[in-house]
């Protein structure tokens, strides 16, 4: 095999080092998420890793209901990144039912979980 690991492991390794990266196709220039071994748009194997810009909007959102003793309600959202790809994540720093579709959000890597999570972006964005 050409590489030490598949694209998914490369993505997770970068996350564990504090970098949120996404792939871009060197042939058709489209961004790709989740990470793949070749471009799903044009089949090129020439994929580059880029730092994600980290900004996007809420494409859809749901409040998952859970008993308070199990941790209470929480948010699950689909985020459309400015690069044009969509990912599942969750909104932090606000009540789950305050998350609205179309809201501008920015990414951070959460300490502890190591996950990419999002917060509401400032008005400037």
């Amino acid at each position: 095999m050409e590489k030490k690991s598949g694209a998914a492991a490369e993505y997770l390794a970068a996350l564990s080092e504090g970098r949120f990266i996404i792939q871009r196709c060197n042939e058709c220039s489209k961004h790709i998420f989740y990470p793949r071994e070749f471009c799903p748009h044009c089949s090129s194997s020439s994929l580059l890793w880029e730092d994600a810009k980290g900004s996007g909007t809420v494409y859809s959102t749901t409040t998952v209901r859970r008993k308070p003793e199990a941790g209470g309600d929480y948010n699950v959202a689909l985020i459309e990144l400015v690069e044009g790809v969509r990912m599942m994540s969750t909104l932090r720093g606000m009540a789950p039912d305050e998350v609205k579709i179309g809201m501008a959000v920015k990414a951070r890597i959460e300490e502890g979980s190591g996950l990419v999570v999002f917060e509401r972006a400032g008005e400037a964005l």
């Binding site: 859809s60 959102t61 749901t62 209901r65 699950v76 689909l78 599942m88 579709i101 179309g102 996950l115």
Partner: protein, 391 residues
């Protein structure tokens, strides 16, 4: 050869169900066997006549092996494709090809699940699936699937088209009103729009009544070539069209949350049957969640995209409404043991045979079945079935 050449060449000649609702003490394979026996008997055939088999189960990757052994079959045609609950609708076209090519002479499509009474919990199943079939880019965020993925779809549909929770509740109430006409339905208590809206929330915008039942149950049906069907005891129900579309696995992998694979499977199934929505007398569509019915009505062309909410308003799909949909009560109120596709097919057959008693759609000659699979409308299969008059 084109799909059109297969139109009406195969008929469903026997149907059977078993253990629908609660069947404590029974296993998946036992329920399946009871439904299979009932379907073969209904067809006027013997189990030893079944030389084709289609089956799938959510918990066993090599499920056809278990079924072949239990039923002591020696199939010349085995189809174990598992694309979720749509599988048993998607099994129609491969069966037609096998029958028409003379590979086999009678196909048994069968399914059984003791999901409700199983001795293990939903958490046990999720843990096992997470290990064997991981979803690494969604699972860390703990969507409560399948409700959460369909909830994300519903939320987007509401945002784009102004669909309301009241529209979703109309679907649940219509299903319940049909179930009240079906003595075999599991949930038959009266249900109002307000009760749906005020019920315990599961994953917004869904309350518990927007989510399908969790029941036990088994379903089976038998297919033979049309020439042979005429000699069998039941009124044959012909397969006029069938097409399957598989688009994604995860909700984050959908191009547009508001458009489902039925858009493609419906167009191809209608083309094969040479028909349009105007020809359809009765619809059986897989209602895993209330939003599914609205999406299916739009994507199949019964109304325009975004108009599914208004379409179901004021009892639009309830008994006495403008289009009879899910006349058994559907997955929301009749039966839902993990995968519902075979049950939807059987209700369509029963309607076309005129066996539906109080819920019978008078004069029904053409039925549409729409199967749904996966946690987010991942796969869908559409079938057009008809009685002899429309061949």
């Amino acid at each position: 050869m084109s799909p059109r050449d297969l139109r009406g060449k195969v008929a469903i000649v026997g149907v059977g169900t078993a253990g629908c609702g609660e069947a404590p003490g029974y296993s998946d394979i036992e329920l399946l066997a009871l439904a299979a026996k009932a379907a073969v008997t209904d067809a006027g055939l013997q189990m030893s006549d079944m030389d084709g088999l289609c089956t799938a189960n959510l918990n066993a990757a090599m499920w056809p092996l278990s079924v072949v052994e239990y039923l002591k079959l020696r199939p010349k045609f085995t189809e174990g494709t598992n694309i979720g609950g749509s599988s048993f609708v998607a099994h129609l076209l491969p069966s037609m090809l096998a029958l028409e090519a003379g590979i086999c002479d009678a196909v048994l499509v069968c399914y059984g699940s003791a999901q409700r009474s199983a001795p293990f919990s939903r958490k046990d199943v999720q843990r096992a699936r997470g290990l064997l079939d991981p979803s690494p880019f969604e699972a860390p965020y703990a969507p409560f699937n399948p409700p959460s993925s369909y909830a994300l779809i519903a939320a987007r549909h509401m945002y784009q088209y102004g669909t309301t929770r009241r529209h979703l509740a109309e679907v649940a109430v219509a299903a319940r009103r049909w179930a009240q006409l079906n003595p075999d339905a599991f949930a038959r208590d009266p249900l109002t729009i307000d009760e749906v809206l005020k019920a315990r929330m599961i994953s917004d915008p869904f309350s518990k009544y927007d989510c399908c039942l969790v029941t036990d149950g088994a379903a089976a049906f038998v297919m033979v070539r049309a020439d042979r069907a005429k000699a069998l005891p039941n009124k044959p129900v012909y397969v006029l069209g069938n097409a399957t579309a598989v688009w994604h696995r995860n909700v984050s992998g959908m191009d547009d949350l508001t458009v489902t694979p039925s858009k493609e499977s419906g167009e191809r199934a209608f083309a094969m049957a040479g028909m349009t929505v105007r020809d359809i007398d009765v619809v059986q569509t897989y209602d895993a969640f209330s939003i599914n019915t609205i999406l299916a009505l739009e994507d199949l062309g019964f109304c325009k995209k975004g108009e599914g909410g208004p379409f179901v308003e004021d009892g639009g799909i309830a008994p006495g409404g403008k289009l009879p949909v899910n006349t058994n009560g559907g997955g929301l109120s009749c039966v839902h043991p993990n995968m519902y596709g075979a049950f939807a097919t059987i209700e369509a057959v029963r309607q076309l045979r005129g066996d539906c008693g109080e819920r019978q759609v008078q004069g029904a000659k053409i039925a549409l079945v729409n199967g749904n699979g996966g946690v987010c409308a991942a796969s869908q299969s559409t079938a057009i079935l008809g009685s002899a008059e429309v061949l």
